[in-house]
């Protein structure tokens, strides 16, 4: 019997998900032994045309990481959807837009302007030319993909069968999913989140929790935290209460507040709104002025509460004024 075929792709992402796949260490050899890897741009030299030539539904498993923010990302997403039996949104970006999704806070024009003209580290070249999709050169016309105004999660562009959350997904979780697919057991219902739990990060966190009453919020550098007490109890904004478990609460273990990369827990559509709900329940103030003063201490609410999930939240992007 021929080996099942595996494809991996990165769209708008940092490459961390690819490294996470390699972080399963020597088991990567088992993956290579069990699967026929037919497409993996970061590691193997296949071209898009090779994928175009494949028969529809000939790829058994496709792990797709990265969000969709340009015409190339979208084209390959549609292509891989047509060629794959099981397509998995792999990692926070594919799942909910991830860090690139934060550019939904601004516009495409402003992003390009910042990158090519205004940022302090930019060396303006050729009078600050911003890349164009089509450029006439003496040898002919060149074409590059068109950047979108709005970053999208994978399931906002194509149908997705399963989701594996995380920035990046933890290697043990990746391996458990691959092992499950290889075992040939019946697959869970389409749309399931794999390689993660069904509770919140706090469930896995070993820190001691008390009844929360927060009078003051601190940024992590402003305070020396007790390593055994809940970070939120100590006034550090930790996304644990609004984040799915599955990572083993790695960040709180390392004295860093949860950043929310495993996305919202089941039945929550909007991680940021849930966090507002949770935080406001434990602020210890009853007077409007005092409340405003405490709220002022929370730095960058959008970037903190929607760090990974802005593109997949209820409102999805900031309205352009």
């Amino acid at each position: 019997m021929a080996k099942p075929k595996l494809a991996l792709y990165w769209a708008a992402s940092c490459g961390g998900c690819e490294i996470a796949v390699l972080d399963i260490q020597e088991k990567i050899l088992d993956v290579a032994a069990a699967f026929d890897i037919v497409f993996w741009p970061v590691a193997l030299d296949f071209k898009y045309d090779d994928v175009r030539k494949m028969a529809d539904k000939s790829v058994d498993l496709c792990l797709f990481n990265g969000s969709i923010r340009n015409s190339e990302n979208a084209e390959i997403a549609h292509l891989l959807r047509a060629k794959s039996k099981i397509l998995v949104a792999f990692g926070s970006c594919a799942l909910e837009g991830g860090i690139p999704g934060l550019s939904n806070l601004t516009t495409k024009e402003a992003t390009l302007r910042w990158v090519y003209k205004e940022s302090p580290s930019t060396v303006v070249q050729n009078g600050g030319v911003i890349p164009q999709t089509h450029t006439k050169m003496p040898e002919g016309e060149t074409e590059i993909p068109e950047l979108w105004d709005t970053v999208k999660a994978l399931d906002q562009v194509i149908d997705v069968d399963y989701y594996i959350p995380g920035c990046p997904p933890q290697p043990n979780q990746i391996w458990s999913v691959i092992e499950y697919v290889l075992s040939g057991k019946p697959l869970p219902p389409a749309g399931s989140v794999l390689g993660a739990g069904t509770k919140t990060c706090c469930e896995e966190c070993s820190r001691h929790r008390k009844e929360k009453k927060i009078k003051k919020f601190y940024r992590p550098f402003e305070i020396e935290t007790d390593p055994n007490e809940c970070l939120l109890d100590q006034g550090i904004v930790c996304m644990g209460p609004a984040t799915r478990d599955g990572c083993g609460a790695l960040c709180p273990k390392a004295n860093v507040p949860c950043r929310g990369c495993y996305g919202p827990p089941p039945n929550v559509t909007d991680q940021g709104a849930k966090m507002v709900s949770a935080l406001c329940s434990v602020i210890d103030a009853h007077e409007p002025e005092e409340i405003e003063k405490i709220l002022d201490q929370i730095a960058d609410p959008m970037g903190t509460f929607y760090r990974f999930s802005l593109a997949h939240s209820i409102l999805r992007r900031v309205e352009k004024s």
Binding site: T150, A273, K274, L279, C280, S281, H286, L315
Partner: protein, 150 residues
């Protein structure tokens, strides 16, 4: 056609909903623009409900609850008094004028206060005009479309 604001009102069962009822039975005239959703407590209003209302096309959202100290569940409206100001900051960051979100205390005996809040808010939203959001473009026939709009 002139613009008629669509406002969603989340009213607590014990005070404000009864207050709205009183406004009705007392035949106090008020603008018909507020669609009321009855919740057990203003503290039950999940911030996601409010964002969802904006997503589905509400031009404004008003949350009404018992006066502080009068909550049927003792503490419920103290959660609301912290959530709404925070949410106002958040919707502002999303590009929504924070005046489109209001928190008001209306007791069961304040039918006139209910009418006053409704009229005042309807007028304010009328001045602000219809709310335009990115997510509105993507909705077709009430279903979020997997549109290629970008």
């Amino acid at each position: 056609m002139s613009f008629e604001p669509k406002i969603i009102g989340f009213l607590c069962n014990w005070c404000s909903y009864t207050g709205a009822d009183l406004a009705g039975v007392s035949r106090i005239k008020s603008a018909p623009n507020v669609r009321i959703v009855r919740t057990m407590c203003s503290g039950r209003v999940d911030p996601a409900f409010i964002l969802k209302a904006f997503q589905l096309g509400a031009d404004g959202v008003v949350v009404m609850g018992c006066h502080l100290g009068d909550c049927h569940y003792q503490e419920g409206n103290y959660k609301t008094i912290r959530r709404i100001p925070f949410l106002k900051r958040l919707v502002k960051d999303f590009g929504i004028d924070p005046r489109r979100l209001r928190l008001e205390w209306v007791s069961a005996s304040e039918g006139d206060r209910f009418a006053e809040v409704v009229n005042e808010m309807t007028e304010e939203i009328r001045q602000l005009g219809p709310l335009k959001l990115y997510v509105h473009n993507e909705r077709k026939n009430g279903q979020p479309a997997k549109a290629e709009v970008h």
